[in-house]
Amino acid sequence: MTRIQKEKLFSGTLAFLTLFACSILAFILFAVFSRGLSALSWEFISSEATDFGSKGGILYQIFGTLLLMFASISICLPIALGTALYQTEYLKSSVWKKAFKIFMASLNGMPTIVLGLAGYLFFGKFLGIGVSWLTGALILAAMILPTAHAAILEAIETLPEHYQETSISLGLKPNQRILAVVIPHSVYGIVTGALLGLARAGGETAAIMFTATAFSGVSIPQSITEPVATLQTHILVLAQEATNPTALANAWGAASVLLGIVFFLILGAKAVRSRLSWEPEQ
């Protein structure tokens, strides 16, 4: 075999494997949506679950998932932004900078089930909020903190240096610099971080299954100490009833909605980020 032939064989094999890897996504999409779309109807997403979820719709599950997502990002975003700003604008000591990296990494590496259990003990038990959507939102906020923080930090750190130099030479104080330069120019990073955080929070199950959710008999929570129903835990319970066809059909329907929400957010984050990289360098 000549070198050229060898090369062709090699690249052909790789091309095939790459195509295979990419087709996994297509397969997942097809597997979920082909089964889920038949269950999906306006009635399905606008009515409540009955018969322990095997009949009826997923209205409150959608509500619960969205509530947890938006509550957690509202808690997380100020903390992520504040931490990133403190790290880049105020913190001088390189030892502490390193310490921040290590703590963020340990939060990021924490298995979500562990985070959920430890979070429940602290928020639910110690602070007395119990099994409730607020506990879940706090746990999810801790879980997505590293994601949002990393995206924001990257946006701030990749600001062109002359922006900072110009603002310093104009005599701006750090707080003025943050308001006039850093935040306006890293706003895409903040949005990207928020969207990725939302997507992660929406896709998470293990951290909330004991801490924030109840399976049946839950509607819109009346106070912060009540649990919610979520799409994730709904699918979890229905998946274990694999012998009941209507329950399974509802599980696929709920999975389609969840997948739709998460993909919408990820694609949004991608669009925002590519908008960021198009920004002309001056």
Binding site: T13, L17, M110, L117, F210, A251, W252, V262
Partner: protein
């Protein structure tokens, strides 16, 4: 001087936020140590090597440690060749636009929620595994590792691709100037250069696989037992994370059973942290 001594609201506000996130990270780690540490210390090898887990009587973690290790290794065996092949092809043979498309697909694949994998695992994969291998049921270590293989594919692929792609173009040019073909440039220049980054990517993926709970829990079978013989991947098992997912609800915060679970969580945390830290170090060290 006085100008800089003024009260800076942002300094304080951001400091408080930074302190919050530090306390959060440190607090959870401290809690795990406080709750699980003494248990491991007191029970020692009885816990780490024990084969039986009967809440209230004895707690042996060996089946779970075995299960986590086994499914992770198998997942790597399935996933790594595919991930590396597509990383190489994407980095070396695709034009920039297609390259971004493939990476975008991987990014989306990485976003598929664990519970969706779990549902696919329960209602499709475990049935296929059962039928193809003629088993009584499809909830096996093998099914769990198939699911994990797909879940870690994007991690390995994306990070290795970054590593291969970041080979300095002077090195590539020098090599192709010597008359090497694309494939030869790849094997003699790009891959050696990217090896630490690829190793780092694999370690991060191991960390992800070990921590994955929900999908594994649904298909692994939930049997606290090391299979006989130990390489029988067609039998049910249990991973550390799936054990936590199954049992934590029974005992939220109480007694010895909880301490034992937290001890498991501590082991898991250490494994994942070590792998992640080492992986990150490899990836960063090589970028410099």
């Amino acid at each position: 001087m006085s100008r800089f001594a003024e009260f800076d609201f942002f300094q304080w506000a951001t400091f408080v936020m930074a302190l919050l996130s530090m306390t959060l990270g440190a607090g959870i780690v401290a809690y795990l140590f406080w709750e699980g540490g003494p248990f491991i210390w007191n029970q020692g090898s009885q816990f780490l090597l024990g084969l039986d887990w009967f809440p209230g009587e004895e707690y042996g973690a060996a089946p779970m440690i075995f299960g986590s290790t086994a499914v992770t290794i198998l997942a790597l065996v399935f996933s790594t060749p595919l991930a590396l092949a597509s990383a190489i092809y994407t980095s070396e043979f695709l034009d920039p636009r297609r390259r971004l498309t493939v990476k975008g697909i991987m990014e989306i694949l990485a976003g598929v929620p664990g519970i969706v994998y779990g549902l696919l695992g329960v209602s499709l994969l475990s049935v296929w595994v059962r039928d193809v291998f003629n088993l009584i049921d499809g909830y096996t270590l093998l099914s769990a590792s198939f699911l994990l293989a797909i879940m870690i594919l994007p991690t390995i692929m994306t990070l290795s691709e970054d590593a291969i792609h970041s080979t300095p173009s002077e090195h590539r040019q020098a090599a192709s100037g010597l008359g090497l073909s694309k494939m030869e440039v790849l094997f003699s220049v790009a891959l050696p250069h990217a090896t630490p980054g690829i190793a780092g990517a694999i370690l991060l993926a191991i960390g992800r696989a070990m921590g994955e709970t929900i999908a594994v829990m649904l298909v692994i079978g939930g049997l606290d037992r090391i299979p006989e013989p130990w390489f029988d991947v067609f039998s049910s098992g249990q991973s550390i994370a799936s054990k936590l997912g199954r049992e934590a609800a029974e005992t939220l915060g109480f007694g010895e059973h909880w301490s034992a679970l937290m001890a498991l969580a501590l082991i898991l945390f250490f494994l994942v942290m070590f792998l992640t830290a080492f992986g990150n170090w490899l990836i960063k060290g090589f970028r410099k």
